[in-house]
């Protein structure tokens, strides 16, 4: 009986993981192999690393990612502590702000930071670290938060009663309970910062380039496809291997959109100050964007909005914002329709695979680790013959979006799937229900939080994606980020204000989707 069921499980595992494997193979691995065999000169595999610009980019990538991670974890842990332990006015609003910030388009946030920061800070590592903090703090809050949520007041109180100082309580009670979650969020943050592109180009300025930027410069500005591909493959291998080693003995931590259940403590003055500063930090870029959308040159005006929404005609400017919204919405829907079932199926495969689950689920990160420009070029040379002439098909865009979003779906779903008690399944089986019925009536309801989070994540990621989209797009089907880039490409007060308005619109649409899909309280 037992052996029978386990053999079935192994077969199911392969079956369930296959859509995800196909997605990763089709959008990342196969194109990269084809591109490598087409353009790479073998001499470059070694010689590219002797180039000083490449060395500089590599060192800077690691350095800024380390710095950003340390900073994000520090501030993130303090924020998590207040958000999980204290009840204060505006707490839910702050959580919402932090959530939305994670999925905002980088270019928009970069522009907003430039608007807020004093000019002597514009092109500095500090600005980069700050922007990375803005983006990635939600990883910490949402990964560590649920752990600390589960620490009861009694535990801390008893530690205190037994004579522990607050510091000792932190060191010996609170930190150990969050340890694996902290490690997990640190890895993801490091990885997100390592491959950061939009933020670095805007806030880093000339001279501060990451490996991703150097890859882009080689491929596009210098026409050195061979060198760019070598670097892209190396980056992918490095990240994948690093993830494999790192997650060998660790399970992937919960990453949920909701942080709930607070104790009734009221925060002290210092805590209020911290929370206040954090709120301002997250609100300022959005405020700057709103103000810029109603500034035309030196005066206040609603023309940016009117032109964008088609209320006012503007000679020399063609924006069909409704078409762009429709296209963006369509892509986001399709992307989440692909990413969600694929990601959840993969999650089942990983979680049933026993001890190796953390290791293999980390492979889902693969599509994220390749420079978008290289993915774009690779897809171009791979799918260029019948019947695989996909390269000019619009559906390639949502498929690529789905591949980028899938790792996040897996992250949202894995803990939920692992949390489903096995006896529940056996009970249902004993009572005679078929596997399919069990899935529909037992698992799906339990999966609900993973499904909603997965939809919100994948739609938001698709809505904001720029790099790969700009490479594969058509005039008649432009997405919102492409329209924004177009508007910022023209000189004048109206295009600038309309561009800011479109950015704000993207923020609003993303926020609405994240919040409406994911609003019910956590169980």
């Amino acid at each position: 009986m037992v052996s029978h069921s386990s053999s079935v499980t192994v077969r199911h595992v392969r079956l369930l993981a296959s859509p995800a494997t196909i997605l990763v193979l089709v959008t990342a691995v196969i194109p990269l192999v084809v591109l490598s065999t087409t353009v790479v000169r073998s001499a470059d595999i070694i010689s590219i690393w002797q180039n000083s610009a490449v060395q500089k980019a590599l060192i800077f990538s690691v350095w800024q990612a380390l710095l950003s991670t340390i900073f994000t974890i520090l501030i993130g842990l303090i924020a998590t502590w207040y958000l999980t332990r204290y009840q204060f006015r505006g707490r839910q609003a702050l959580i919402t702000l932090i959530t939305v910030s994670f999925v905002l388009p980088t270019v928009t946030v970069g522009a907003a930071f430039i608007a807020v920061l004093p000019s002597w800070l514009h092109h500095s590592t500090f600005a980069i670290v700050l922007a990375h903090l803005f983006f990635n703090i939600s990883i910490v809050v949402r990964t560590v938060g649920p752990r600390w949520n589960s620490i009861g007041d009694q535990l801390i109180d008893s530690a205190r009663t037994l004579g522990a100082t607050p510091l000792q309580t932190w060191r010996h009670v609170i930190m150990p309970l969050g340890k694996s979650a902290i490690y997990s969020s640190a890895t993801l943050t490091f990885f997100m910062c390592f491959t950061s592109y939009g933020i670095i180009t805007i806030l880093g300025g000339p001279g501060l380039a990451t490996l991703d930027i150097e890859i882009y410069r080689r491929a596009v500005q210098l026409g050195d496809l061979s060198g760019a591909t070598v670097l892209a493959v190396a980056q992918m291998l490095f990240i994948t291997i690093a993830f494999l080693i790192w997650s060998r003995s660790r399970s992937v931590e919960l990453m949920t959109f909701r942080v709930a259940a607070v104790s009734q403590h009221k925060p002290a003055v210092v805590s209020k100050l911290f929370v206040g500063a954090l709120t301002i930090f997250f609100l300022a870029p959005l405020l700057a964007l709103s103000i810029a959308s109603i500034r035309t040159g030196q005066s206040w005006s609603l023309s940016g909005w009117k032109v964008l929404l088609g209320i006012q005609n503007q000679r020399g400017l063609q924006v069909d914002i409704w078409q762009a919204l429709l296209t963006s919405g369509k892509y986001a829907l399709i992307a989440s329709c692909i990413a969600l079932p694929t990601g959840i199926a993969a999650t089942y495969a990983f979680s049933k695979n026993g001890s190796t689950n953390g290791r293999w689920s980390s492979l889902a990160i693969l599509p994220l680790s390749i420079s978008p420009v290289v993915v774009g070029l690779a897809i171009l040379v791979t799918y260029d013959f019948a019947p695989f002439e996909f390269r000019s098909s619009w559906f390639l865009i949502p498929v690529v979006h789905a591949a980028i979003a899938m790792p996040f779906v897996v992250r949202a779903a894995l803990p939920v799937v692992q949390g489903i008690p096995p006896d529940l399944r056996s009970a249902a089986a004993t009572l005679g229900s078929s596997p399919w019925r069990r899935f529909c009536f037992v698992e799906i309801p339990l999966l609900r939080p993973a499904i909603t989070t997965g939809i919100a994540f994948s739609m938001a990621i698709s809505l904001g994606e720029f790099g790969a989209t700009s490479f594969l797009t058509r005039r008649e089907s432009q997405t919102l980020p492409i329209v924004i880039a177009d508007l910022f490409g023209k000189a004048g007060a109206i295009p600038r204000a309309s561009g800011m308005t479109a950015s704000l619109l993207l923020v609003i649409v993303t926020g609405i989707i994240v919040l409406s899909v994911d609003r019910k309280p956590h169980v």
């Binding site: 000339p206 001279g207 500005q221 496809l225 020399g316 420009v373 002439e389 559906f395 009536f441 490479f471």
Partner: protein, 329 residues
């Protein structure tokens, strides 16, 4: 709950079916041409109606990123192109494009423009605007100029090429003087123009942009400027680099003859007349009259700098590397 599971499975099935069908149907249409262009190719929506009426051929526009990305894509797919005609390969890229054999026949000139230092009239205050490259290193303009990084921006590259054309081998000395005069370098045109330039709240009244940015400023002014108003920005006419853009038939297209017709249409007066106020470039076709906004606000560039495309292609990397070593350190 049942609904959710059905929704998931049907959506997955629908997507798969949809993917399978859409790829087979898309390639079967014949008499349609695809024009590959950079992202900022924004002619009016009706721009190709006359061509379709005349020939019965519909034109789709495939955007390929910026001009550099477009040429990278076209080079990679040379011989088996994504479209039939390509628009907007400029003189800094044309040599690479020709070397990669992306064209069949010769590419032809479709438009041109100038990259020049612009000044914000209000931002300069009582300071007289600069005219030449030499003016820019004068202490009168200390801390006033913002330029784009030639390694990441096409306007930045054009400005670097202007200085190389002007000063020859001693261009590094000129840039050392610019650095001493506190030049600011940013990565992209939109950052230079929309954040560093005084007109949009920055602290630099001089910016590397286009000679046609002043008419754009007037057209896009808000509230609209009454006729005959003075310009908001001006051009240092002795700092300009000429950018020429080409279009051509892509090698490997099935419809060479029709593609040739489309290229002819791109240079016809009816299409060329649309260019100034939508792409803010000068039409290559000399028979086309310029719009009033260009006559009033775009200064006539009598002399400009240029370099042979082959020389640009050959030295691009070493020039930008050398520039980075001097300016960014």
């Amino acid at each position: 709950m049942n609904k959710t599971s059905i929704a998931i499975s049907t959506s997955l099935a629908a997507t798969l079916v949809f993917m399978a069908t859409s790829c087979s149907s898309e390639t079967s249409t014949t008499k349609d041409l695809t024009l590959i262009a950079y992202d900022s190719f924004t002619p009016p929506e009706t721009a190709f109606d006359a061509f379709t009426q005349e020939t019965g051929i519909k034109v789709h526009i495939a955007l390929a990123g910026d001009a550099g990305e477009m040429v990278a894509k076209a080079s990679l797919t040379a011989g088996n192109p994504e479209g039939d005609v390509i628009w907007g390969v400029d003189n800094t890229l044309i040599s690479r494009a020709i070397d990669s054999k992306i064209f069949t026949g010769d590419p032809i000139e479709v438009d041109y423009g100038y990259v020049c230092v612009n000044f914000d009239i209000a931002g300069l205050g009582t300071t007289a605007p600069p005219i030449t490259l030499d003016d820019l290193v004068s202490s009168d303009y200390q801390g006033m100029l913002v330029v784009e990084n030639p390694a990441t921006s096409s306007t930045g590259l054009a400005f670097l090429l202007a200085t190389i054309a002007a000063f020859g081998d001693s261009w590094p000395d000129y840039w050392q003087q610019l650095v001493a005069n506190d030049v600011l370098v940013v990565d992209s045109w939109d950052e230079a123009y929309y954040t560093a330039f005084t007109r949009y709240g920055g602290d630099r009244p001089l910016v590397v942009s286009y000679s046609t940015s002043p008419p754009a400023e007037v057209i896009f002014a808000d509230p609209p400027l009454p006729a005959g108003s003075p310009a908001l920005t001006g051009v240092a006419t002795g700092t300009c680099f000429k950018q020429v853009e080409y279009a051509g038939v892509l090698r490997g297209t099935e419809f060479t003859k029709q593609a040739q017709q489309l290229v002819e249409y791109l240079t016809s007066p009816i299409f060329q007349a649309l260019l100034p106020e939508s792409l803010f470039v000068y039409p290559a076709n000399k028979d086309v009259a310029l719009p009033q906004s260009f006559i009033d606000y775009a200064p006539k560039i009598v002399s400009s700098f240029s370099l042979p495309p082959e020389e640009i292609a050959k030295n691009r990397q070493s020039w930008t590397d050398q520039w980075s070593a001097i300016v960014l350190q």
